[in-house]
Symmetry: C2
Subunit: 138 residues, 2 copies
């Protein structure tokens, strides 16, 4: 198994509401979405929105009903960009879990939580290389 991830699927309660949230952040779905699912081309991978109930069944797991131990992060090139993305998320209707601030590990980050309870850390990490294509290198 190579070290890569092809797809991250986020389970949602209301597909249209979830799509509108990500569209409000500036994301655009793939032009021909499959029925009942929304796909976003996310750099070299895909982010999908799908019914949480169906995702649980398809994933052969029991839904714990809340957060389940997975957090996504989005890295940017400066603290000012962290501030800007957190403000975008606030405007789009996210809950701001942590306002942007310096972190214990020497970076700067904030957290927004999407309408389905999925947290995103928005981070500037001066120790990682962020490429012009958005790639992150340790």
């Amino acid at each position: 198994m190579e070290q890569r991830v092809s797809l991250v699927t986020l389970g949602v309660r209301d597909l249209d509401a979830a799509r509108l949230f990500y569209e409000a952040l500036g994301w655009r779905p793939a032009p021909r979405p499959a029925e009942g699912v929304v796909f976003f081309q996310a750099g070299p991978m895909v982010v999908a929105l799908w019914s949480r109930e169906q995702l649980a069944e398809d994933s052969t797991v029991v839904d714990g009903g809340g957060w389940g131990g997975v957090t996504l992060a989005y890295n940017v090139a400066s603290p000012a960009e962290v501030d800007a993305v957190i403000d975008e998320a606030r405007t789009a209707g996210a809950t701001i879990g942590r306002e942007p601030a310096p972190t214990s590990w020497g970076g700067y980050s904030g957290v927004f939580v999407d309408p389905d309870g999925h947290p995103w850390e928005i981070a500037h990490n001066p120790y990682w290389t962020l490429g012009p294509d958005g790639s992150v290198t340790l």
Copy 2:
């Protein structure tokens, strides 16, 4: 906010056990891991293993205690590769949630669940383009 994900962090109970599981799948951590966290370079992004309790606190969420609506997928170039990865996961100690089989959407997939309850769908999707670098294009 650009359409990309920089980092997926999986909350784990026992960091060494979780690292050993992913190493048994053939993954290799970054050479200088930070204390208490394991980073894998995963193509152009990063996958991290970290204490689930600390991740919940850092993510400003309450832990639901089980699965929480996020599933990862790993796409491969053929059904035979799906079979091979599921067998690798079985050997590494994963629970096999779904044995590989044709899917309703015209592909072929199986699911393994890692020791911390995180499901991975291993899929061959003939409608998506899988690049030689592992990138997926809708």
